[in-house]
């Protein structure tokens, strides 16, 4: 956060943070925007019956207003009972797998999309 403000890219952020938006410990904030793996643009997709997947929202994590919208949408989906998963690649084997995220700050910086789907229930 301090490095970003020191570089003059955006104004300093107030210290007070929402409980669900732990920006101080967010890996997206800690990672430098200059790293190759950091992808600022992210999409939120949701599985819906009769539609396949629908695009909920997308935005640039570097822009404060868009990130607020992303955070709000993330919390809204979790409040509706959805599970959030990020398709990732295992660094050791290179195989694709999924990573479940319970907080916006848990989204890996290299993630391009987050998929929301209904939580599992016994059938």
């Amino acid at each position: 956060m301090s490095s970003a403000s020191a570089k003059g890219r955006r104004p300093a952020r107030p210290e007070t943070t929402l409980w669900h938006n732990r920006r101080a410990s967010s890996p997206a904030r800690c990672a430098s925007p200059d790293t190759d793996t950091w992808r600022p643009l992210i999409k939120f997709l949701r599985m819906k019956p009769g539609h396949g997947e629908v695009l909920l929202t997308e935005g640039d994590r570097r822009v404060d207003a868009e990130e607020e919208r992303l955070v709000a949408e993330f919390r809204r989906q979790l409040d509706e009972g959805m599970w959030a998963v990020v398709p990732v690649e295992n660094p050791g084997s290179g195989r694709r797998e999924a990573q479940m995220v319970r907080d916006y700050s848990d989204i890996p910086p290299e993630a391009e999309r987050v998929i929301f789907f209904p939580r599992a229930a016994g059938g």
Binding site: K48, P49, V85, N90, R95, A98, A120, A121
Partner: protein, 220 residues
């Protein structure tokens, strides 16, 4: 004579009038009954929309899973996910035998063969099957679904979305999804004969692709 004819005509008219009145009353009753019965609304199931949804779901599935898993689902209709829990609560690495430049780091009993100690078969809208790849022993069924209760209409995801949801849940948090599932002995919803045939199909499919670690089917 004329008087008799007039009397006959009068009686016929009276009888006809009563029949006519009864017919009108019956038609009125039918009409009022039809008005009370609500007409069925248009069908909410749209085959075209469901087909498009399934097509979108397949594209999403293909973009998320590994190439081998996608080919398996496309060709066989189901998908395999290796189990990751080892004895003692340890967690195996997500490595599949036969992958280029990799080797199985599992410390399970079949580490030399590169096979995981157990695996799952994922079917669309059917229970998840747990089995032992080395012996093709069928372990149990895990009945789990992902109902969308937020909307007012259908709650069932497209088939490929259901498979993708199970794949994501198993690869990200296996304990959680298995803990939520209803476990049953094999045979409750899945036909054991069909499962063995599917395992044989899987072994043949892997043999044709040249993938190592294909399932050794126990001969009956």
């Amino acid at each position: 004579m004329l008087l008799a004819l007039l009397a006959l005509a009068l009686m016929a008219a009276i009888l006809a009038a009563s029949l006519f009145a009864r017919t009108i009353a019956r038609r009125r009753a039918d009409r009022s009954r039809r008005r009370r019965i609500p007409r069925a609304g248009p069908l909410s199931y749209d085959p075209g929309r469901e087909r498009r949804a399934e097509q979108r779901a397949r594209e999403l599935l293909r973009s998320c899973v590994n190439e081998e898993e996608w080919a398996m689902y496309r060709d066989l209709g189901f998908m395999r996910v290796d189990g990751r829990q080892l004895p003692g609560g340890r967690r195996a690495a997500a490595v599949r035998p036969g992958a280029a430049g990799t080797h199985n780091k599992s410390e399970g009993p079949d580490a030399r063969n590169g096979e995981p100690p157990y695996a799952y078969l994922i079917y669309p809208h059917k229970p998840i099957l747990a089995y032992v790849p080395a012996t093709a022993q069928l372990l149990s069924e895990y009945c789990v679904e992902f109902p969308d209760l937020t909307g007012g209409g259908a709650t069932r995801l497209p088939a490929s979305d259901d498979v993708l949801a199970k794949w994501m849940a198993l690869t990200s948090d296996e304990n959680r999804v298995i803990g939520r599932a209803n476990m049953h002995l094999v045979g409750r919803q899945l036909d054991p004969a069909r499962l063995r045939r599917d395992l044989w199909r899987l072994s043949e499919w892997e043999r044709r692709r040249g993938t190592k670690g294909s399932v050794r089917i126990r001969r009956a």
